[in-house]
């Protein structure tokens, strides 16, 4: 005898218990401390902060632990918390030219004022699994301290008027994508906000496609810099700017060839990427996709997925994508029932039509 399925509430409660147990794992192994995650999984923390749109290492570490290391779940946790936070104000634009640089490389000039600075990078690690614990060698002091101010490589080209000039003062006040819906066409500030929150894997794939002929980017890594930048606010009641702390950022400026068009002379153009913490892959991908999305403004042929702003911006967000892909596991039996009876009608009709046509192999009457 059929009994209507009941007990959803109990099933959820049991599932949560199982989840808690699975997350904790073997209790003989000590639980991860947030400080361990923050200090030893810092790149994961950076990604969660970046795509979670919240610079808080402690909360990002908490989210990673709670999500058992599932980064997309951790990003979702952080976003759902962030959305409830009241807005006290907006910071001044971050001045990345004044970054206290810890890493800075350029693919465009052999040497640059201030020098190439590798900093902490996986680039030259040779990727051999370190089966034995490697003793930590003390960092040798540098021969000379890094210069306090490092000019941005693109500013050097700017002096020669070879790269497009973007006057920051001329930008309209950006909209806040976390408070207002995305509408099309989206301006560059809005697109960059979307890309900044976008899934690293999605952006990486999109960026890669631009290098393989799906958009004509011709990029050079003009400069990638990572380090600390001061955060400044200017409260109305004070009337003067105050520094409230500093955050780690990775900035990438791509230089792209441009033959001129739409009233713009031949010159190099820019693609821009910015990421919280050490997020070089993300910042580089973002810069490539940003440049590809500028095709309309620069009157370039637009035929590739990475140039289609509706396509890119509507599908970049991992929280949206993950939710909707996975919602398919929710019950759909009402709609399925509707489709089932429609299909039965269609199938019956098909069989009847086939019967009427002698010689039809679908008829089945001869069988």
């Amino acid at each position: 005898m059929y009994v209507a399925v009941k007990g959803g509430e109990q099933a959820i409660a049991r599932s949560l218990e199982l989840l808690a147990e699975a997350r904790r794992g073997d209790r003989a192994v000590p639980e991860l401390e947030l400080a361990q995650i923050r200090e030893q999984l810092r790149l994961g923390v950076a990604r969660v902060m970046q795509e979670g749109s919240l610079y808080d290492e402690e909360l990002a570490a908490l989210a990673i632990r709670q999500a058992a290391g599932d980064m997309l779940e951790a990003i979702f946790l952080l976003r759902a918390y962030r959305t409830t936070l009241p807005r006290f104000g907006y910071t001044r634009p971050l001045n990345t030219a004044a970054m206290r640089v810890r890493r800075r490389v350029s693919g465009t000039f052999k040497d640059i004022p201030g020098g190439q600075v590798l900093g902490p990078t996986y680039d030259y690690t040779q990727r051999l699994l370190e089966f034995d614990t490697v003793p930590i060698t003390e960092v040798q002091p540098a021969d000379a301290a890094l210069p306090a101010h490092m000019p941005r490589v693109l500013d050097l080209l700017d002096a020669e008027a070879l790269i497009e000039r973007i006057d920051p003062g001329s930008d309209p006040e950006p909209m806040d994508l976390t408070r207002e819906p995305l509408t099309f066409p989206a301006d560059r500030a809005t697109r960059l906000q979307n890309l900044a929150r976008g899934d690293e894997g999605f952006l990486l794939g999109m960026a890669y496609s631009t290098q393989r002929g799906y958009a004509e980017n011709h990029p050079f890594a003009g400069e990638i810099r990572m380090g600390e930048v001061d955060v400044v606010i200017c409260p109305d009641e004070l009337g003067f700017p105050i520094e409230i702390g500093s955050i780690t950022l990775t900035e990438c400026q791509m230089i792209n060839q441009f033959h001129g068009g739409n009233g713009t002379p031949p010159q190099f153009t820019r693609g821009y990427g910015l990421s919280m913490g050490e997020g070089e892959r993300k910042a580089m991908s973002m810069a490539l996709v940003d440049r590809a999305l500028r095709c309309d403004e620069l009157a370039e042929a637009s035929h590739a997925p990475a140039q289609n702003q509706e396509f890119v911006l509507s599908h970049s967000d991992s929280v949206e994508a993950s939710g909707f892909v996975q919602h398919l596991k929710l019950p759909h039996y009402v709609d399925f029932q509707a489709e089932l009876s429609l299909l039965r009608t269609l199938a019956a009709q098909y069989a009847a039509d086939a019967d009427e046509q002698p010689g039809s192999i679908a008829g089945g009457a001869q069988a």
């Binding site: 059929y2 399925v5 976003r79 819906p181 509507s314 929280v319 019950p331 009402v334 429609l342």
Partner: protein, 279 residues
């Protein structure tokens, strides 16, 4: 209640934004109002639009019913109900007649709604033209021009190919004679309940960041042709539990040999009928 969050989870600024958008939605029946959808603690695609609408409406005196596929006891419905009991401490019910607010996914209750009730739909894809035209910039223009030729062609092609319209759920409607609107993926069986309903109906699409509304007593016409009128789905069966012959039925596989039985999708309606029959 979870004290670290505001009543009904959302902060007051967000509720005001939602409330302004909802009022515009009611003022322009069937039109999709863009809104600053927030990340909710449930995943996009799992009812975040409906949840935000409910959170913007909810007050301490409300009695909330949540259904998924017509049933109060499906896990996602239970989870959403649980969420609001936790963040708003409000009363919940499984009885359609006792509810002031009903949040639903994929069904409209069989029991007729009253003027003092509000039905809130969870909507995965608010744009009825989306599968025919993926670009939002284009579909907005088509709505601006009330140019719904694409949809008529699609339905006509169905007729040419199959002899009738092959859309069984999320069947497009024209609201107040102006905006082509998605009724959300309800079976077309439920479409007539949208027309001139005494209850206000609100639709929330969280991931797509759109809200829309069908005010009470508003004309809602399911698209059709003169020679191919809108037709309701019918069953040769009755509900195996309550005997209803006019409700929407779920098909249930009951043994390894594929034997089937049919039962009401609306669990409250079904159990109400059974209680009545016993009395």
């Amino acid at each position: 209640m979870t004290p670290r969050y505001n009543f009904a989870f959302l902060d007051e600024d967000t509720k005001r934004m939602l409330r302004r958008a909802l009022l515009k939605a009611v003022a322009i029946p069937g039109y999709q109002v863009p809104f600053g959808s927030r990340e909710m603690p449930l995943p996009y695609g799992w009812g975040t639009g409906g949840i935000q609408v409910t959170a913007a409406l909810l007050g301490p005196d409300d009695v909330l019913k949540v259904i998924d596929q017509g049933a109060d006891d499906t896990t996602n419905a239970v989870n959403i109900r649980r969420f609001f009991s936790r963040v708003a401490g409000i009363a919940t019910t499984e009885h359609t007649t006792d509810a002031t607010l009903i949040q639903t996914r994929h069904r409209i209750p069989e029991t007729s709604l009253r003027e003092d009730q509000i039905l809130i739909f969870q909507v995965p894809e608010p744009e009825p033209l989306r599968t025919l035209e993926p670009r939002e910039a284009e579909t907005r223009t088509l709505h601006a021009l009330a140019d719904y030729g694409l949809m008529h062609v699609k339905l006509y092609e169905d007729i040419a190919q199959y002899g009738h319209i092959a859309t069984s759920y999320d069947y497009p409607v024209l609201v107040d004679g102006r905006f082509l609107t998605s009724p959300s993926p309800i079976p077309k069986f439920d479409n007539p309940k949208l027309d001139r309903s005494p209850a206000l109906m609100l639709f929330g699409a969280g991931r797509e960041k759109r809200l829309y509304a069908i005010p009470p007593y508003t004309s809602v016409e399911s698209l059709a042709f003169d020679d191919h009128p809108f037709e309701l789905q019918r069953w040769d069966h009755q509900c195996a539990l309550c005997g209803s012959g006019d409700s929407y039925l779920d098909e249930v596989v009951v043994d390894d040999h594929g034997a089937r039985m049919f039962v009401c999708s609306d669990t409250d309606y079904c159990s109400g009928r059974r209680v009545e029959a016993q009395a």
